[in-house]
Amino acid sequence: MADFTVLKMEANHGTQAVPVYVEVGPTAGKEVRWSDSALQNGIASAAWPAMIRPAATAIVSYTYAYTADAVGWGFISGQASPCPAYVITNFLWARWNWDALGTFASAPIFTAFPTTAHGAITRGDGSLLGGHATDTGATARSYLKGNAFGQVGAATLAPTNAPVVTDGTTGSVSPTAGANWLLNFQGLQGDNDWITAPFTPAATTAGVWHTHYALFVGPNMTPATWTPVFSLKYTWT
């Protein structure tokens, strides 16, 4: 099939000034992790610390790019410890990267699912992606928020608004085509709430699509081991 040979998500574990992108998936063993501790670089998965559910909603400040089970650095950390806390101005955060061998047949979609089975998500069920009406808004949004740049190529400025726990819009949202982000973050909630690129990338042309994401927790999130997946849904010829 006329699919891409290389299509991957990359995270910046360099700096905002000098980005260094490393693959965080889909190759097995690579992944994104979150923690409320800034000192979790190079930690084997079996030793990854649990988080205490907070008394009030809060962003999970530290995001890590793991390229092997015990090999990982914080996003925008410069491969140094401690991991910097999340700030919106670190906008060279992550990107989808594809080669010149495939052709998109429509605009790609960025969302998240509970597992690779891509099952339906029940809005407001207290799960990480389902959200909870008390924490994430009357129309419960995912605790996982995403944003995306409006064109192919490196992002050139930061999103206007920082993510908040109630961000989200039912169905699809797209940034205005061009050098800008979504004004507000979208809840990444499977086939309920997602981001659609405002473009179909050029045929047989390598490119990158910059994305940004943030995770929140809240007092009504169901305690569990949450291991969802980011998904890039796309079509090809």
Partner: protein
Amino acid sequence: MNPLIAAMIKRSGRSWWQCRYSDGKVLSEWETLTDKVKLPLGSGKTSRWEEVPKKGMVGLRLLCPNGMAGELEAPEGFRFFQLKAGGMDVGIGFTGGVSSVRRFCDAHIIGVVEDADGNCLCRAWETQEQQLIEFRDNIYNMKYRNIGPLSLEVQQLKV
């Protein structure tokens, strides 16, 4: 169909497109592969639908690994399209990498545009369900699997 080709399609485990032209010529997806061996074997290397001549195309088939085939017909006029819908997953969490993260193909779709409003008739081979389905949709906002608008340029559609 040649029984050997039919057996290869079944063994490949995937669906293949085949188009028909007004002059009687038939072009099969495996003939457009970049592999040296141009037969419906395995997943097949890149074939470029966007480079397939659309002029004179009057029929498009989907040959499925269960032996079924779906065919769409229309007068000449750049009305046919073909695409695969799928994606890729990236693990989140402290699992040492979700073992089953992958790239995947959910469906192989063929379609024909029926009017200037973009309404279309489609057939799709759904890879998980292993079934051939038929549905109506619209190329300006495909509801099927939330695909959204198709790229008319890529498909060379003239509506």
